[in-house]
């Protein structure tokens, strides 16, 4: 009977580490966060219960909604383009006749595995208004008369941040889609070819629908990723100019570790989670409606 009992208990022992982690480093902190969000705690000993005040303040705070809006704009600026590009690259790299696939695959993933800080620094250097190489080229080729202020106008700063994020993540999404493509049965393509379907039709009628789930996964991850962008906007423009690249997580960081408004910042994190849950549900709905 020894191993029978053991096999009844064993799974719980195996999965225990994760649930200890969940309790210690996610659930307890999260509940604590919810609690703090109802207080005016600023880091000193005493915290006063203020009810829904922080949430009220948040609801009427311009910068919070701006941060949500910024994330939405940045999302729209890069996610559709990135997914399309990633999909095209994945399809190209999935062609059996293409030489040097390993090299290409690696090349596209390199931006994702190098440090964000490093990538951001390089872009600061490239996009600099006065001595960045991009402006040098644009001026030299007479594309523009004045150097473009890539990092110091709200309009361009958002585009720059969106571009850096696209550059960093297109390869990663390509990998996921490429892995997804391996599971599409070859017969589907062969049948389509026999029927004389054109490449564009094959792409939209077979490839895209078959990858629906992977695309959903990529979109959900990109949404959460965009709303919690931190390093890129922080290094490139400190969330500016005029808060144009401030995301909810950047705001959360600023309010907590720079201004010490822990109560208010906790309200931001709770609101952020609710918003993410809402957006994820919305995307699940959108994708499942489109699937069949």
């Amino acid at each position: 009977m020894g191993w029978r009992l053991q096999y009844k208990l064993a799974p719980y022992v195996f999965i225990a580490p994760f649930f200890i982690l969940l309790a210690l480093f996610t659930m307890i902190p999260f509940l604590f966060s919810v609690y703090i969000s109802f207080t005016d705690w600023q880091g000193s000993a005493d915290a006063r219960w203020v009810g829904l005040n922080n949430y009220g303040k948040l609801f009427y705070s311009r910068i919070f909604w701006e941060s949500v809006q910024n994330s939405l704009i940045i999302f729209l600026l890069y996610v559709p383009a990135m997914l399309l590009l990633a999909l095209l690259l994945a399809v190209a790299l999935n062609q059996p006749w293409l030489p040097g696939k390993g090299m290409l695959r690696t090349a596209f993933v390199v931006p994702n595995i190098t440090s964000v800080i490093a990538v951001s620094f390089v872009f600061v250097l490239l996009l600099n208004t006065n001595d960045g190489i991009v402006n040098h080229l644009l001026l030299g080729l007479h594309v523009v008369k004045q150097p473009i202020r890539f990092l110091d106008t709200p309009f361009w700063a958002r585009i720059s941040v969106a571009f850096i994020v696209l550059f960093r993540w297109v390869g990663y999404n390509m990998l996921l889609l490429l892995a997804g493509l391996q599971t599409v049965p070859r017969e589907l393509y062969e049948a389509a070819k026999v029927d004389g379907a054109r490449p564009a039709a094959i792409f939209f009628k077979i490839t895209v629908p078959m990858l629906n789930k992977v695309l959903l996964f990529c979109t959900v991850l990109s949404t959460i990723g965009t709303f919690s962008l931190f390093v890129e906007p922080y290094i490139v423009a400190k969330g500016g100019p005029m808060n144009a690249t401030t995301t909810p997580i950047l705001l959360l960081f600023r309010e907590s570790f720079e201004n010490f408004h822990f109560g208010y910042a906790s309200a931001i994190s709770v609101a952020f989670l609710l918003l993410m849950a809402l957006l994820t549900l919305l995307q699940l709905k959108l994708f499942s409606g489109r699937g069949e």
Binding site: F32, S33, G102, I117, F217, F230, I249, F272, A277
Partner: protein
């Protein structure tokens, strides 16, 4: 000055030495290595154990517990950074490397998910024969499943190394003394320091980028296969 000069006229290796000595990058390198290696060991052990528990046993509450695990994947840890800071502060861990290492020893939902997907594809007969031999669950895990998991473990290991090596927000929040800094934090410190030339920043940038690249090149072959194995379909 147009066209720009793409190829510099001379290579100055001493730039690297100079940049490396502006701040104590040797210390930062040591800290980064400690964090990365210890996280990786912990992550591999715990994630594979938890994945094994979920994939190879039937037990009450399994599906509900697994749904909880998946749901936590959606929570970026950033939202708990204030209470985590306070928790680590109570434990006396602030300004030590522990907050960056210890949580990794409990597994991570994404890696558990990846490994479980792989383990689900292994036929049942394997552990049935082990059961008849009377091997304990842990022995079965160690002798049968760990060897099978090696390619997937390489994938997890590579992802995890990149994440920890490149992590910035964690060190930024939990470390405040320069002697505890990791490389990324040291590099970021250059922004806003006066009199640091771009050459130095780029020199350090280059050095920081090399280890992940080397690791990735070495493991490249396993990665797409690993992702395909784990089958996010």
């Amino acid at each position: 000055m147009f066209p720009p000069k793409w190829i510099p006229s001379a290579i100055h290796w001493e730039n690297f030495v100079h940049a490396w000595t502006i701040q104590s990058f040797n210390t930062f390198l040591k800290n980064s290595l400690i964090v990365t290696i210890l996280c990786n060991i912990g992550q591999l052990i715990s994630s594979s154990l938890v994945a094994y528990g979920f994939a190879r046993f039937r037990f009450r509450g399994r599906n509900a517990l697994f749904m909880i695990l998946l749901a936590t994947m959606m929570i970026p840890w950033d939202v708990t950074m204030i209470p985590l800071y306070m928790e680590f502060n109570m434990l006396g861990w602030i300004n030590t490397l522990k907050p960056l290492i210890v949580p990794a020893w409990f597994g991570s939902p994404f890696f558990i998910f990846l490994l479980r997907q792989f383990l689900l594809t292994v036929p049942r007969e394997l552990e049935e024969s082990a059961n008849i031999d009377g091997a304990s669950a842990f022995t079965t895990y160690l002798t049968i499943f760990v060897p099978l998991m090696v390619p997937s473990l390489i994938l997890v290991s590579v992802f995890n190394m990149m994440d920890t090596w490149n992590d910035y927000l964690g060190p930024l929040v939990f470390l405040n003394d320069a002697s505890k800094y990791t490389l990324t934090l040291g590099l970021a410190q250059f922004r806003g320091m006066f009199g640091v030339d771009m050459t130095s920043i780029m020199a350090v940038t280059t050095i920081i980028c090399i280890p992940p690249l080397v690791v990735f090149f070495l493991a490249q072959r396993h990665i797409v296969q690993g992702i395909a194995n784990t089958g996010i379909k």
